[in-house]
Amino acid sequence: MYGLGILKSLSVTMGRFVMTYVDDLKWFLKGGFGKRYSPVALPVRQSPKGRGVFTVQYPKERLPLPENYRVFPFQVIDPKTGEARCTACGICARVCPPQCIWIVRATDPETGKPKREPAEFYVDVAICMSCGFCAEFCPFDAIKMDHDYEVAAYKRDGEFLWNLERLAKPLAYHAEIHPTDYMAEQTARGRKAVREKK
């Protein structure tokens, strides 16, 4: 009969509509009003088990970011020395697809020989394509991909050319946002130190 298909479609829509209220009710029974928008509920709502509305109330609510999430690079500052781990080897600048990393290698003022540290280090984040190659290929774990995606600025020129100071973040921050990676690095560094002692 003509029209049955439309009724079938509408039943699907109706089912979805009812489901959102069922979901609300479920959260209400678990913890009253607002439970659905609590940090406990968010991962469940957004998982394959979620049955209700998918909308996240940004910026009040934020999706948890997975560890591998990547936006722009940052420089890891070693707490022992207070300096960047970077040795100015230039691998990141070479592997960078849009060529947005600019490094000036430091030189010893007395001998004029190049030193293993950057004098200047820039990332033009207006050009950066967030591919993560710099962090992936850095042999010294000195450059990592950040989770901070709220970087809007009022001016286009200048504000997005980040220098070493703007890029620097403490090691503890890296350990916080990349716990698995950090553990793996620490074990590898420990093993290397042991090998060097022998």
Binding site: G5, S9, N68, G90, P97, I103, F133
Partner: protein, 586 residues
């Protein structure tokens, strides 16, 4: 180039047949395939199509060799990739003079050559003789030069190859605003003056339409109207222009106007290092970055000759099939948007897609621009928590949601009225126009590269090629639904059997050197055949980097599909082809 000319047995056999039929017209090529004398090309192509059964012209492009080498003088090469449905490929090279490159057009043999030869003319400046409509396709009429020639330099030109020496060790940044846009590249034609200049770029677009409109001979005197749809239009899916010539409300002639999203992907690709192209491929079809990665990785691995570890292969297949599910969901969702259901059904589809890109984000770090594949493996292993989520999605949620979506659409009278019998594509036309993917399979041709020429480990899974006979919009969506189910079937097997082990062959290198040679690697991306034609000169950068994208070639048939239909059918037909303009314009 290889020292010794290696001829594969099928090519040798074919060469002897060609030598018999067309003495002296075919020689073995340096790397792969055969070199055809230009004056016999059309004859030989017709023969190859009709007798050995190379019915499918996949890719047409050109390669520029600006300087004479030890082995050959300066020249252009036009490269044609042919395939047979029963398996087997063939590469035809045609050499042309560097100063005045002319190659016979194959449009009379394969209509699919039309758009691709126009692209080669636009980008390389190879003139295809007897092409019915040799105009620029991606750039505008009046553009100076042909950008993919090796001696053409772009604005802000810095060096031929990345990495640029200005970045390290004395990398003081120069903002783009402070540099001259064209630098040394700025030049005007000798007789050009800004005073008397008029923009001519649109004349070639409208002239054929006006001609058509001026044709008389209709029983009643009615005017024909030329209308523009896009480039900013809701249903054009992105910046795609469409020019249609109407008689009343019936479409007489329709042509897509491309290039609004052209961003010289191939030129950038030839400046880049091999690995640096990987994140750029994400931006081709921005919905299916994993499949694009896959295509590029497969092509480069053919040149490198690396064996991918088993776990990496499984991960790749999981990602590629999730992408297929996701792409088809988007395609179905946006189609309902185009026929006027607005956002309801689209958001049902996008919800599931959201869950899939959550998985991509977990594994690769980015939702859409995944950049997950590496030569010989994948970027990183699957994180903890990926498999349970993926299994929940693949076993529990997606099958139910896909059934629900199908229930929502396929019996709906409105959906059926807008899709059955609209935009019918007969099988022979589909093949002649080089259509691939669901578009071809909905016309009753069971051709899927995963089956016809299995790459990666697709031959280890148990699955069927989805195919329908109708050839109309309805059949295309029926194929997509079926393909989602088949992908879920592959996913279930892959998730079940995912082995342990390394995810990368050898050590990951930041700068990869690829042995000299040429290769055409292709994969079945969700939209159709995605091919990468790569030429390496042995250095760290590709010498030639050409992408045959499914959207671009499939879009070439839209004029045929729309003829005789109403304006209101253009949007559904376009949505049923399923294009991503990022991939069309590159």
């Amino acid at each position: 180039m290889a020292e010794e000319i290696q001829i594969s047995p099928p090519t040798a056999e074919l060469l002897s047949i060609l030598e018999e039929r067309f003495p002296g017209a075919a020689q073995p090529a340096e790397c792969e395939g055969v070199v055809i004398a230009p004056d016999r090309l059309v004859e030989i192509a017709t023969f190859l199509r009709d007798e050995p059964g190379y019915v499918y012209l996949s890719c047409v492009t050109g390669v520029d060799y600006p300087g004479p080498t030890a082995r050959f003088p300066a020249r252009f090469e036009a490269v044609h990739h042919l395939f047979r449905f029963q398996g087997g490929s063939l590469t035809l090279h045609v050499h042309a003079d560097r100063d005045d490159p002319v190659v016979p057009s194959l449009v009379s043999v394969w209509p699919s050559a039309n758009v691709q030869e126009r692209e080669a003319w636009d980008m390389m400046g190879i003139r295809f003789e007897a092409h019915p409509d040799l105009r620029r396709i991606l750039l505008w009429e009046g553009f100076a030069g042909h950008p993919l020639r090796k001696d053409w330099q772009e604005p802000y030109y810095e060096a031929d190859h990345k990495p640029f020496p200005s970045r390290y060790p004395m990398g003081r940044p120069v903002p783009a605003e402070e540099r001259t846009l064209l630098g040394r590249n700025l030049q005007y034609p000798p007789d050009w003056s800004p005073a008397g200049w008029k923009l001519q770029a649109e004349v070639p677009v409208y002239a054929p339409m006006d001609e058509r409109a001026a044709e008389g001979g209709r029983p009643m005197h009615t005017d024909q109207v030329v209308i523009n749809v896009g480039p900013q239009h809701l249903s054009a899916h992105s910046a795609l222009g469409i020019v249609a010539c109407l008689d009343g409300e019936t479409i007489q002639r329709l042509e897509p106007v491309l290039g609004y999203l052209h961003r010289s992907h191939e030129k950038i690709g030839e400046r880049n290092t091999w690995l640096a192209n990987m994140p750029f491929t994400d931006r081709l079809d921005y919905m299916c970055s994993m499949s694009n990665n896959f295509g590029y990785a497969v092509a480069v691995e053919k040149l490198l000759g690396v064996e991918v570890p088993e776990r990496a292969e499984y991960i790749r297949v999981i990602m590629a099939e999730l992408t297929r599910v996701m792409n088809h969901l988007i395609s179905i969702g946006f189609f309902t948007n185009d026929i006027g259901v607005y956002l309801t059904a689209m958001l049902y589809a996008l919800e599931e897609r959201e869950l899939i890109i959550d998985l991509f984000e977990m594994a690769s770090g980015s939702r859409m621009m995944c950049n997950y594949f590496r030569f010989g493996g994948v970027a990183r292993d699957l994180p903890e928590g990926f498999l349970p989520l993926a299994k929940e999605l693949v076993y529990e949620r997606l099958p139910r949601r896909v059934d629900e979506l199908e229930r929502f659409l396929m019996d709906n009278e409105v959906f059926r009225a807008r899709s059955i019998g609209v935009g019918v594509l007969p099988a022979d036309v589909a093949v002649a126009y080089g259509c691939t993917g669901p578009l071809l399979r909905a016309s009753g041709v069971p051709y899927d590269i995963r089956r016809a020429e299995p790459y990666s480990i697709y031959d280890e899974f148990d699955w069927d090629v989805a195919v329908r006979d109708g050839g109309d919009i309805y059949a295309r969506f029926a194929v997509r639904f079926e393909e989602i189910r088949q992908s879920l079937r592959i996913l279930r097997q892959a998730l079940e059997r995912l082995p342990d082990g390394p995810i990368q062959a050898g050590k990951k290198q930041p700068i990869v050197k690829v042995p000299a040679g040429e290769v055409y690697g292709r994969v079945e991306s969700p939209k159709g055949e995605l091919g990468f034609y790569l030429v390496s000169d042995g250095g760290p950068n590709p010498y030639r980097y050409h992408i045959r994208t499914p959207s671009f070639v499939n879009l070439g048939v839209i004029g045929e599909l729309c003829r005789g239909h109403l304006v209101a059918d253009v949007a559904p037909i376009l949505a049923s082809i399923d294009i991503a303009v990022g991939e069309v314009d590159r």
